[in-house]
């Protein structure tokens, strides 16, 4: 599948934004974070900014961005529509919780209920995003029970990395945050590795014979394609990445999105939080690049069954 850069930017940015909202809300309610005005302002502002940039960028690849509002209408059947609706709803409780934190420096009572509702909506929105892919039976690498956990755990882990950076910039003790972040990254890594193992070992069972329905005693091969230059179908769904290339990118993703930030934060813990700002800034940069690579691979490694009609033997 062809990776649309706007979609990669969207899922990376909004995933981190929702992850940040999730941790802010729950750790705030749990009393693990100081309910201080400017910290809340910066953290919620960053989260809303990332989410909004993400949502806007997801309209860049549309043929008619000015009609994007129509996408809120079909939530009964469409995960893309549900995602849009969830994203808008999610602003409400989190926005109210942010008001409590920033204006009243209060995160208890009604504000805490809003915060918890906001955390739930953040997760719901990430799940809707992942279900857009996971619900497509035409793409084996996406129609896979690990896709939702991958998106959710990566969103939460990248949000945790961001929160660690913010906490250290404001001079708070971030030891606990760092441990939470390392655990979240470990879980996300384990899920992503399981995902990769699964798509690589799974038998490709769709065949060109099934696609064409030809009862042949040998394999069917394409003698002539319908067109001399790639059409939309091949550009969009026949996009391939060389295996060698893929393997290299996969190791970059593992290192940058997971291992490097884990090591950097562990180093900071070992150094008694002497270099928190510097090391958590590095981990934010590393995770961002790593997740972009991971998202790019998510598309590039996906093979659509329509490639069978164009002569692929299996999909």
């Amino acid at each position: 599948m062809h990776p649309a850069y706007s979609v990669i930017l969207f899922t990376t940015a909004s995933g981190a934004g929702y992850g940040l909202i999730f941790w802010l809300s729950l750790l705030g309610v749990g009393g693990f974070l100081p309910i201080e005005r400017w910290f809340g302002f910066t953290a919620f502002g960053l989260a809303f900014g990332l989410i909004t940039i993400g949502l806007l960028s997801s309209t860049f690849h549309l043929g008619h961005p000015e009609r994007a509002w129509r996408a809120f209408s079909q939530w009964r059947s469409s995960w893309l529509s549900r995602e849009g609706v969830a994203a808008v709803i999610a602003y409400v409780p989190s926005g109210l919780a942010a008001i409590g934190w920033v204006f009243y420096e209060d995160f208890s009572g009604i504000w805490s209920i809003m915060a918890v509702a906001g955390a739930v909506m953040a997760i719901v929105t990430i799940i809707c995003t992942a279900m857009i892919y996971a619900s497509l039976t035409t793409i084996r690498q996406w129609h896979n029970p690990l896709v939702v956990p991958v998106y959710a755990s990566l969103g939460l882990a990248s949000g945790a990395v961001l929160l660690t950076l913010l906490g250290s910039v404001f001079g708070y003790p971030v030891g606990t945050l760092e441990i939470i972040t390392i655990v979240a990254l470990t879980i996300a890594l384990a899920i992503k590795l399981a995902y990769w193992r699964r798509i690589e070992n799974e038998e490709k069972s769709w065949t060109i014979e099934q696609a064409t329905g030809l009862k042949a005693s040998t394999t069917v091969s394409q003698l002539d394609a319908p067109h001399t230059m790639d059409n939309f179908v091949l550009r969009e769904m026949g996009y391939k990445v060389a295996r060698k290339h893929g393997r290299k990118l996969k190791s970059y993703a593992v290192i940058l999105a997971f291992l490097a930030p884990m090591a950097l934060l562990a180093l900071d813990i070992a150094a008694n939080n002497q270099f928190s700002i510097f090391l958590s800034l590095l981990s934010v940069l590393s995770v961002t690049i790593g997740v972009v690579i991971e998202r790019w691979l998510f598309f590039a490694q996906a093979q659509h069954v329509v490639t069978l009609f164009y002569g692929a033997k299996q999909a």
Binding site: M1, H61, L62, G63, H64, P65, R67, A68, R70, A71, F72, S73, Q74, R76, S77, S78, W79, L80, S81, G84, I132, S135, L136, T137, T138, I139, W206, Q210, A211, T212, G213, L214, K215, A216, S217, T218, T219, V220, S221, Q222, L223, D224, A225, P226, H227, M229, D230, N231, F232, V233, R235, E236, M237, H304, V305, V306, F309, Y310
Partner: protein
Amino acid sequence: MTSLPTQPTKKKLGLVIDLDICVGCHACAVSCKEWNTQGYSAPLSDENPYGEDPHGAWLNRIHTYEADIEGERSTVHFPRSCLHCEQPACVTVCPTGASYKREEDGIVLVNPDTCIGCKLCSWACPYGAREYDSSHGVMKKCTLCVDRIYNENLEEVDRVPACVRACPTGARAFGDLGDENSEVSKLVADRNGYGLFEEFGYKPVNQYLPPRPRRNSIVEGAPAALEPTQASKAQTKSERLFQWADRVLSR
């Protein structure tokens, strides 16, 4: 509304494509392009049409496959277009309601006035039947020539999809596959017609008729080999040597 009709549609208009007859001339595809670039799907744009990398939206594509079928090496020309499925995910994934299935006849259409061009429907189709028109910014697909088949301004004989009208060999038939007694349904029953990729459960309406066994091995009375002609008998030694060399080399 991108929810599917709750009841199966009574009429199931569709095509029956005879893989035994199709000669792969692409007349149906050209005729489709010509009709639809001025009708419901207009414009059906091309990009860079005279440049190095011409491409564009077409609603019908003809592949050519090769395989051993019934013991004979066969070439099969294979037209591929939207199958107007009964349970198509291309409709249900659409966030805007632009992609829909008509209750009255089962035709699957895209409303070009509400499509946002998100392309998700094309991902959901296993048959590659939808092509995005980047200059129009919306998704295009076979309309079963909805602007011909009910068009009273056309002669009766022209009220069929453009591809059916254009096919010089009669490899394409159009009709109601929901009616057991229709010509197309009988054709499908007689010839063991099938839908593509039934495993996906989209229940395609269009049906394909499989190639029939070739008869070239049982032509009666034909000599097993041709007699050598007068000219080829009267050969010089060197000519025979060349012929022998030719046989050896072409092994």
